[in-house]
């Protein structure tokens, strides 16, 4: 063995050790997390993995995503070339040339082509960071123009240049049999050929540059955000198959700990998430809190968990005390309480994340810790919690008032066998003076379409959405159990809701309590009734002018209902609604979800104002909503902007216009 081979072997062993140590440290930290079953339905998981990891579905959906797609696939292909390179460094006789010639030549061609593509893509990436870095790539602790970012990009670019240099020189020396299949390297060879006396030297220079950079890359990988190269694919494989907004249940046993106040109380998947973040900033740019100047940045929440885990993990594993608190510090490894309370649970972060990180459930877990272990939460929430516990509605209004909305109509009580659907009116539908109009409109529609329905009246209780999203799982648990018992006792199987929060909670969350309800949101029902001809309007809805449709997060992102309300508007008015720039999956929250409805917004621009301004850019006459919270937030936003010419209507109100004489 030559001395240079021995030197290379030593370096290779060293880098492998550094790499393994880094990986071991991180993966062993992940095992500090709590157990969680993410091994069910492997077929679905594989499908998810192919779509989002290998297909890069989310990545390519955004500008410059194609760039990443190219680098990703080139990386996979060039893994082979680099494997060969390392093996050959140790045992020069080893080579892919042993493969059948056609395959070998094909590979040579691919290597050459992809190396060029990578070179172009990395140049684009560097240029983007240098000349037009998008603001969302900067977060408090990680910048678009970070040393790490440039280092890795230059590593990749140098690797490619060295690859061409090496093969160009070899071709010029006549050592490369597959020249025909290496167009780029051959072109490089024509340039290098003018230095015939230096070619041997160039071969070894390029070889060593390639070797050293490759080994350095291997060393750095597990210690940087590029760890995602290793974790993203498994992370996508293990991502939830259900609705991430449905938080796991807690069991209330004496002596237990509730929520997450220490990093090792997260599940292993939460921790894996933190090592999978690519720092792309997409969640940040979609987050209504982050974009309106709140301290919450979903990306930083994830980054803080990682930083905290790296600092505390080893200590915690040995049974020691943490050195950085997970909650409450203004540092890279902690989330402040203000941050934790700022989330509207809109899910935009999760919808944007290319590696399917689940931000929101982690925030909810930390909220649980604050509420359940510390009884520490914003002042406004005390009244909310007590009202919920005492009177089962957020305002603390007497339950007897639940029936006031139908003072002018005849409404039946729900009775199994007599009425098909339970119309679950919801707290806002029953108590909020504005939303009551929508309730009446919906009731009128149901009657006009001959739907058989009834209500629970005074017996109806709040579904508990707000308390669950606010981390008061103890109270939610009680409310859910009471409601499920009530539904079972009354024989309720089909439910109509007008509030997407009730809709989502009854439909998805209550499943955890052993009840499968057929829950339909009124926008879905109305669109079916119209399409099937069961609801016959007396006239086409005119009068409302240009209608702009605003997606509710709990209907859209959390339940994938996007078309039904649009369809209903189209059928009722004869025209598709106008769309926001940010609509559908990318819709922007009104600011009220996740219990934010009951808290003041202390910092930055108010979220509802931001959305109302965006609405006014489209110059609508009517903004159509499908959620009581959106109704309040939109109306308030318009009022603050003195936009007297624009009104807000619930989808039921829009359609019910067509029933007037």
């Amino acid at each position: 063995m030559s001395s240079s081979t021995i030197f290379f072997a030593a370096l290779l062993v060293f880098s492998t050790l550094v790499f393994c140590a880094g990986c071991y440290r991180r993966f062993s930290l992940i095992t500090a997390g709590q157990p969680e079953d993410r091994f069910n339905r492997i077929d679905m998981r594989l499908k998810q993995m192919f779509l989002y990891a290998f297909g890069q579905k989310r990545v390519v959906a955004k500008q410059f995503g194609v760039n990443h797609f190219i680098i990703f696939w080139s990386f996979l292909i060039l893994l082979l070339a680099n494997g060969e390179f390392l093996a050959k460094g140790l045992f020069p006789a080893l080579s892919l040339a042993f493969l059948p010639q056609a395959i070998h030549h094909g590979l040579l061609f691919l290597f050459d082509l992809f190396s060029l593509l990578v070179l172009i893509s990395t140049t684009v990436a560097v240029a983007r960071r240098l000349f037009f870095p998008p603001t969302y790539m900067n977060s408090a602790y990680v910048k678009a123009r970070s040393v790490e970012g440039f280092l890795i990009l230059s590593f990749i670019a140098i690797l490619m240049l060295a690859y061409f240099g090496l093969h160009g020189a070899e071709i010029a020396l006549g050592n490369e049999p597959g020249t025909r299949f290496m167009p780029v390297s051959s072109w490089v060879a024509t340039i290098l050929a003018s230095y015939p006396s230096h070619l041997t030297l160039l071969v070894s220079i390029f070889w060593w540059v390639h070797a050293l950079v490759l080994l350095a890359f291997i060393c750095v990988l597990p210690y940087s955000k590029h760890m995602h190269i290793l974790t993203a694919i498994p992370n996508i494989f293990f991502a939830t198959l259900g609705r991430p907004n449905v938080q796991l249940r807690e069991e209330f046993i004496k002596g237990g700990e509730f929520g997450v106040g220490r990093v090792d109380r997260f599940t292993w998947k939460d921790l894996l998430d933190s090592f999978s973040c690519t720092e792309c900033g997409r969640c940040q740019s979609a987050c209504p809190a982050a974009t309106t100047g709140k301290s919450l940045n979903p990306r930083q929440v994830i980054h803080a968990i990682k930083t905290n885990l790296l600092a505390n993990g080893p200590l915690l594993k040995k049974g020691g005390a943490p050195v950085i608190s997970l909650i409450g510090e203004e540092s890279e490894g902690s989330s402040t309480e203000e941050t934790i309370w700022a989330c509207t649970t809109c899910g935009a972060c999760m919808e944007a994340c290319p590696v399917l990180i689940e931000h929101m459930p982690k925030i909810a877990k930390m909220r649980r810790h604050l509420v359940e272990m510390k009884a520490n939460f914003p002042e406004e929430l005390l009244t909310l919690f007590e009202n919920m516990e005492g009177r089962s509605n957020p305002w603390g209004i007497a339950p007897s008032e639940r029936t006031k909305w139908h003072a002018t109509m005849d409404v039946q009580q729900f009775e199994d066998g007599k009425t098909e659907y339970l119309f679950y009116v919801g707290c806002a539908g029953a108590f909020d003076s504005r939303q009551k109009h929508a309730t009446v409109a919906l009731a009128t529609i149901l009657d006009a379409a001959g739907v058989s329905w009834g209500i629970l009246g005074k017996e109806e209780k709040c579904c508990g959405d707000s308390v669950r999203r606010l981390g008061n799982e103890f109270v939610f648990d009680r409310m859910a159990k009471e409601n499920v018992a009530l539904f079972k006792e009354k024989g309720v199987k089909k439910i109509i809701t007008q509030c997407p929060h009730c809709f989502s909670t009854l439909k998805n969350d209550y499943r955890q309590y052993g009840i499968e309800l057929e829950v339909v949101h009124h926008s879905e029902l109305i669109s079916h009734l119209l399409a099937d001809g069961k609801l016959k309007l007396k006239r086409k809805v005119g009068g409302l002018g240009k209608i702009l449709f605003h997606d509710s997060c709990y209907l859209g992102r959390h339940n994938d209902v996007y078309d039904a309300p649009r369809e209903a508007i189209k059928l009722a008015t004869g025209q598709a609604p106008v769309e926001f720039d940010r609509s559908g999956r990318e819709s922007f929250c009104c600011g009220a979800g996740g219990g934010r409805m009951w808290q003041e917004e202390q910092h930055g621009e108010r979220i509802n104002l931001n959305r109302a301004k965006e609405a006014l850019e489209k110059r609508p006459d009517t903004i159509c909503v499908s959620c009581p919270y959106c109704m309040t937030m939109m109306e308030d936003g318009l009022k603050d902007l003195h936009a007297d010419g624009t009104r807000v209507k619930d989808i039921a109100e829009v359609v019910a216009e067509g029933l007037r004489q």
Binding site: G256, F258, A375, E379
Partner: protein
């Protein structure tokens, strides 16, 4: 040293209606809550516990189901909860109620010196505000009513200085221990129970003291010991409201109009 908090289970009055025929409160299906003023007394006691290390006992006179009220107190952190419950205590007015509570506090005092007794200024069902002062009189404690701030507490000299919230003014008074304090809502913001505390309180022991323990003369307690007699309960006729101004088109003008109106009826003071 012990702080005793007197709490009462009351029907959630916002949900109570009066039966127009029988003129009685319709209590069926109405949830019970801890008298809201008492929650502030409880909080004050717990804050003093946190700061000075008092022990806190909560006592409540009521039917067996009033236990829930005491469990809530336990979940918030009181050290001991005692339910004063006996058929002979039933039908009590404020006088006989204060007899029962007084005896209970006296018994507690035999075990451990009582420094302060805390009560809400009144209950939302009776609204008499008599029980606190009644206890103080019978125990011979100083009574400090309508307290909205505990200014100073001197454990060595055994003195407490409080601020009383009176009509249009405040009064700062000081008294030696033992003292009975009734509190108003402004005093503090009651805490919320943590889940571990709730779970512990579910299993915690609630002592029940009946008249065998208190040994009171039956003529001084319950209905027999109550000189007050309620002849009728009714909802006062309310004048129908009126709509003032046009809030939709002239919110500012309407607000001014409303303020003028309230001022003229003496419902608002500047």
């Amino acid at each position: 040293m012990l702080i005793v908090v007197c709490i009462k289970q009351v029907p959630d009055t916002t949900q109570v209606q009066i039966d127009p025929v029988t003129n009685t409160l319709v209590r069926e299906g109405i949830p019970f809550i801890v008298n809201p003023y008492d929650t502030h007394a409880l909080e004050a006691a717990l804050q003093l516990k946190d700061r000075y290390g008092f022990r806190v006992a909560a006592i409540s006179m009521g039917p067996p189901n009033a236990e829930a009220t005491l469990r809530k107190a336990l979940s918030l952190g009181v050290d001991e909860a005692i339910l004063l419950s006996d058929r002979v205590f039933g039908g009590a007015d404020t006088l006989s109620t204060s007899n029962v509570l007084t005896r209970a506090i006296t018994l507690l005092n035999e075990q451990e010196e009582v420094g302060l007794v805390l009560c809400g200024k009144q209950t939302i069902d009776g609204d008499t505000a008599q029980v606190g002062p009644g206890i103080a009189t019978r125990l011979g404690y100083t009574q400090l009513t309508l307290v909205d701030n505990i200014e100073q507490l001197d454990l060595l000299r055994k003195r407490v200085r409080v601020r009383r919230k009176l009509e249009g003014r405040h009064e700062i008074v000081e008294s030696p221990f033992p003292a009975m304090i009734t509190v108003v809502r402004e005093l503090n913001r009651p805490r919320y129970p943590t889940v571990p505390m709730r779970l512990t309180s579910h299993e915690a022991e609630i002592k029940v003291w009946n008249n065998e323990v208190l040994k009171l003369d039956v003529n001084t307690i319950g209905l027999k010991g109550s000189p007050t007699w309620v002849s009728r309960i009714f909802s006062p006729e309310r004048e129908k409201g009126e709509i003032v101004g046009d809030g939709l088109h002239d919110p500012e003008g309407t607000a001014n109009l409303l303020i003028d109106k309230l001022l003229s009826k003496d419902l608002l003071a500047l």
